[in-house]
């Protein structure tokens, strides 16, 4: 009894002292002492991880490629987790940048050239905006590996959507004082190849963002840590990552990416420079090849993503009969401009083979074309797309999935 009592007393004494210490420490730390973080319980995770049962992941675009596709088949909502955002970088692995050392230089046709640290960037007035970033090659059909691709991840894995936080480039440019006669800028990354891209000043003064935040945390290394451009709605190559320099100029610099790469070569051998804005586009993420198969007839919620490079999505129609009839899908609100928009459509599957697809209209009245319409406008045949080694980029045609009687889902772009 005695020993028990004394044991209890000892405990109370110790525990009580610890509690008092914690309370005092929490309110007013003793001078000269640092506040220790509370001792975590066993199994505590300072940085959360997903359940070990969740396996969805990026995949390399090609064997040994550093570029990767977002697993659209597993997407829910409109935000792509930063860890699953697609990665494209013209072959370079993300640089390991110490944010303390990183600098952004703004110079050229400006009155006040400036060098900014990341801390200084964060002192400017900031904005958060939800925008997609899409590679010009997303869903490109000319590459055989795409149109016979087994999964939506391979066909449509080059678009992702995030909440980006940072400083409007217009704020920085006004601070630097753009001189009259300036009409373009050159943005440059800090990665090994120092990717550069010329962007018209008009766009830069409109809605281009220098982002340091992605979905509530610092931009991930694959997405440009610590600073990147978000050039809303324009093809991915403009969104310079690991941004280290902006030079204001009076003409485009005709860099590799704009004078030869990312050009559109036509049938007559002439090519177009400077393709900017991505068109209206949508795709079904369920059912979709590479995702969950259907398990027999009955109710399914068809769902997918729609987006447009210069506008907000106004309408999405879904066809469950190979494009013969179209019905309006429900759009998830709020709808953000130049962002993935989630749509849903209730469907009772009768168990027979059929073809599903979606079609997007934006608030400028731009309509996503079908493959046949796409070819007609370009004056090319389906066979051309199948056979050519030319790039058919910025492909935004409707993309059909075939549901077989066994519930499996397949790419049906050409069949």
């Amino acid at each position: 009894m005695n020993s028990k009592q004394s044991g209890r007393r000892r405990f109370l004494k110790k525990g009580g002292a610890a509690l008092v210490g914690m309370a005092v420490g929490g309110i007013r730390p003793a001078r000269g002492q640092t506040t220790e973080p509370p001792i975590p319980p066993e199994g505590f995770r300072p940085v959360g991880e997903r359940s070990r049962f969740v396996k969805t992941a990026r995949i390399p675009v090609r064997p040994r490629s550093p570029h990767s596709f977002t697993p659209q088949q597993d997407s829910v909502g409109i935000i792509t987790p930063a860890a699953l955002h697609f990665m494209a970088s013209h072959g370079h692995i993300p640089p390991d940048i110490d944010p303390q050392e990183h600098r952004l230089l703004i110079h050229g046709l400006v009155d006040r050239p400036m060098i900014l640290t990341l801390e200084e960037m964060k002192r400017f007035p900031s904005v958060s905006r939800i925008h997609f970033v899409e590679c010009a090659g997303n869903s490109s059909p000319n590459d055989r590996s795409r149109w016979v691709a087994e999964t939506i991840q391979q066909t449509h894995g080059f678009t992702s959507c995030s909440e980006w936080t940072g400083v409007l480039l217009s704020v920085l440019l006004k601070e630097a004082g753009v001189q009259s006669g300036a009409s373009w800028l050159l943005a440059e990354g800090a990665e090994e190849g120092k990717h550069t891209k010329s962007i018209p000043l008009e766009k830069a003064m409109d809605d281009v963002l220098v982002a340091y935040g992605q979905n509530g945390e610092p931009v991930r290394p694959e997405q440009g840590f610590p600073l990147r451009l978000v050039v809303a709605g324009w093809e991915g190559v403009n969104n310079v990552k690991w941004l280290r320099r902006i030079k204001v100029t009076d003409q485009p610099y005709m860099t590799k990416s704009e004078s030869s790469g990312y050009t559109s070569l036509r049938l007559d051998g002439k090519a177009r420079w400077f393709n900017f804005e991505l068109g209206p586009k949508s795709v079904l993420t369920f059912p979709a090849p590479g995702g969950r198969p259907l398990s027999g007839r009955g109710f399914y919620e068809i769902t997918g993503l729609a987006w447009s490079g210069g506008a907000a999505v106004r309408r999405v129609e879904v066809s469950t009969d190979g494009g013969r009839t179209w019905k309006d899908a429900q759009l998830q609100e709020p709808i953000h401009r130049i962002a993935h928009t989630r749509f849903r459509f209730n469907w009772n599957w009768d168990g027979e083979e059929t073809v599903l697809q979606s079609r997007c209209t934006d608030d400028r009245g731009q309509v996503q074309p079908t493959l046949a319409e796409f070819c007609k406008v370009l004056g090319i045949s389906l066979d051309y797309i199948k056979t050519t080694t030319n790039n058919v980029s910025r492909f935004n045609a409707t993309y059909p999935w075939r549901v077989s009687r066994d519930g499996s889902v397949h790419n049906a772009l050409f069949s």
Partner: protein, 193 residues
């Protein structure tokens, strides 16, 4: 070598119809950051535009370039510049652009010789970017152009001569098939690619 591009580039900027943004009352409001020194800007400003104004002193010939190519480039681009799994081909493709299987190389497709210099200088060779001297880059550019039958082997490339190299496909591009289109406007149906 005749120079015919100096007039075309400004013309192109005009065709794109982007109005110059007027320098309206841009007084600094936040006064953050610091002013870079001229030396800092010089060190960072590696971009070379189509007029070649930014090209540094130095020079090189195809012969010198062949030697550097053999040491630094051949493992990816191959002994005959035909490319490999590791690097794209750098020669050939002439006359293929209007075909079903266009071969787009520096020789058949690239419109500006300055872009070759700029890209080698900033991006080659992989893992050793920035290690080549201006002389090396002039020499490699000369070697690639010579192998594409664009300049003779004896030509010396430098800041003056490089921008004047007449690239075969210089007139093969146009800024936009819809010159009146501007950002924020509706495009003709289907006109995105």
């Amino acid at each position: 070598m005749r120079c015919f591009l100096n007039l075309l580039v400004p013309a192109m900027a005009v065709t794109l119809n982007f109005a110059c943004v007027a320098a309206v009352a841009q007084t600094p409001a936040y006064r953050l950051g610091r002013t870079p020194t001229a030396e800092e800007i010089r060190k960072w400003d590696i971009a070379v535009g189509p007029e070649g104004k930014e090209l540094p002193p130095g020079s090189g010939t195809a012969k010198q370039g062949a030697e550097i190519y053999g040491k630094k480039c051949v493992s990816c681009h191959g002994p005959t510049l035909e490319g490999s799994l590791l690097g794209p081909r750098l020669v050939g493709g002439k006359g293929t652009l209007a075909s079903l299987k266009p071969v787009k190389t520096i020789g058949s497709y690239w419109p500006f010789a300055t872009t070759i210099w700029d890209f080698i200088n900033r991006g080659m060779p992989p893992k050793q970017e920035g290690s080549l001297s201006p002389d090396d880059v002039y020499a490699l550019t000369a070697f690639i152009l010579y192998k594409n039958d664009i300049i003779p082997e004896s030509d010396v490339l430098d800041a003056k001569s490089l921008p004047k190299v007449p690239m075969p496909n210089r007139s093969g591009f146009f800024p936009s098939p819809w010159p009146k289109w501007q950002p924020q406007e509706k495009r003709p149906f289907g006109m995105y690619p």
